[in-house]
Amino acid sequence: MATASDARDKNWFIDKFFQSLMFVCGISAIVFVVGIFLFVFKEGLGFIVNDLNVAEFFFSPKWRPTSLHQPTYGILAMVAGTAAVTVLAMAICLPFSIGAAIFIAEFATGKTREILKILIEFLAAIPSVVWGFIALSIMNPLIITTFEVPMGLGVLNSALILALMAAPIVTSIAEDAFKAVPDTYREAAEALGATRWQTIHKVVLPAAKNGLLSAGLLGVGRGFGETMAILMASGHSINIPTSVFDSFRALTATIAAELGETAVGSPHYQSLFAIGIFLFFITFLINMTADFIVRGVKKG
């Protein structure tokens, strides 16, 4: 029935226009992601098809792409190093960050809170390379003298740096998670006679669980993705670390350090892209896990 009251007015067209605009923006995000993935995949494909020995790639600790008689492409040492550092960094970072977030969200008021938040934002603004510099010139001698070891670059140094780098973002995501818990929950708990700590422990933390989980996983993602600071703090020698003072080499740092020196299209070049694909895969897995856990939590 096309009556006058059914006429498509200005608002209708504006609405359609913005809907289309949002659609284009949304689609373009997908296009970029797929595009990047295709590029990386295409570059690594030749290696995966021609040169990749799966067993060697994943289970050999030897990364000798430039060896003349027998190049080996094993990433085991780098995976072990990266994973060890990430785990250690999170073990250091999460308790502090969540504690800081609890303090900021639940206890601090007025000036204290503002100052803390500014300090944390300041921490987040420090560029990666400055952290690497701190690792080399402050942490390194500190670790050497404190623990009386010959070298201060390695797992411990990297984990400390990574923990410090991840702390601001983990703290602010965790704080958001606490802020998202309605005050009515807190008041209901306190009216039941819950102490401040009981309120946080029994009501706020469970309610913020999902947000805290994503904060943690963001930290893990950061650990796998961080390049520059780790390149400087790790010692960069290929080695499966057996102690926290051992040097290691990160997956990302390998790509960053070697990509410029390889001939485009060579097996070495392609193998670096294969590492890229592997990193993609890890990130994907982390996100899937997060999704999975969050959904499990929701079902209760």
Partner: protein, 256 residues
């Protein structure tokens, strides 16, 4: 004011300020043991603020200042060092139901667990069932005790809140406009529950429904703009013999 055995709560010269804003001024009243004490009044008259002062929730609000005294069983609430123990004596039901994001069971079991009085699993099961029954909710949730309490319907959540408030075996139950998000049938059921409960607890019933106070309250106070205009037996107030014309106007539906 002399403290007598059947006075549960004695309030004297209670004033509440939010910063410079006065929300309640010089209220003095007594609530007797095992009565339902109604508080009626339009929005912003200071009813919720009054309740918050009784269980000292002002401690959570830096801008809320309370002066005057509130005595429970003759003991000034301000002299309690362990305010959490004080609050355990007072159950609170809020205007909008607050189903905590815990299971139905855990919602009701929370208070005894917090207080460390949960006892054995069997005791706790029994307590949870008893509280849910008294809140007229047991039959509806007995098969989904492990579901999230926050997923119940609004009316069910409000009864869950009442069950939760009862689980701490309170001496005082304060309800703040509990029926605001509840359908009339459920409201009636909760009202019946309250009539039974008053055998065991003292109830302060803040309500925006004048007739609800008429149905339930033994005595009623009328708050208006931070002032306690009048307190009397509910019957007296509603029979048209209120002393203050504003009370008559409000009860008669002339404003508010």
């Amino acid at each position: 004011m002399v403290s007598t055995a059947h006075n549960k709560i004695e309030v004297q010269d209670l004033s509440i300020h939010y910063g410079a804003h006065k929300a309640l001024g010089n209220v003095s009243l007594t609530v007797r043991k095992n009565e339902i004490f109604g508080i009626i009044g339009p929005a912003n008259s200071g009813k919720t603020s009054f309740l918050n002062a009784v269980n000292r929730m002002d401690m959570m609000r830096p801008n809320m200042n309370v002066s005057g005294t509130v005595r429970i069983d003759g003991i000034e609430t301000r002299s309690w060092r362990n305010v959490y123990a004080l609050r355990r004596k007072i159950g609170v039901v809020f205007p909008l139901p607050v189903g905590l994001p815990l299971t139905v069971y855990d919602n009701v079991a929370l208070a005894p667990r917090l207080a460390g009085t949960a006892g054995s699993r069997a005791d706790l099961n029994e307590l949870v069932e008893r509280c849910l029954r008294r809140a007229a909710l047991w039959d509806e949730v007995k098969d989904r005790l492990t579901h999230l309490g926050s997923l119940l319907s609004g009316g069910q959540q409000q009864r869950l809140t009442i069950a939760r408030a009862l689980s701490q075996s309170p001496e005082i139950l304060m309800l703040d406009e509990f029926s605001i998000a509840v359908d009339p049938v459920t409201t009636m059921r909760i009202e019946d529950v309250l009539k039974e409960l008053k055998e065991e607890v003292t109830i302060i019933l803040v309500t925006n429904l004048v007739q609800q106070a008429n149905r339930l309250a033994d005595r009623t106070a009328f708050f208006l703009n931070g002032e306690c205009v009048e307190i009397d037996d509910t019957e007296t107030l509603f029979s048209g013999s209120a002393k203050d014309p504003r009370t008559n106007d409000y009860i008669g539906g002339k404003f508010g």
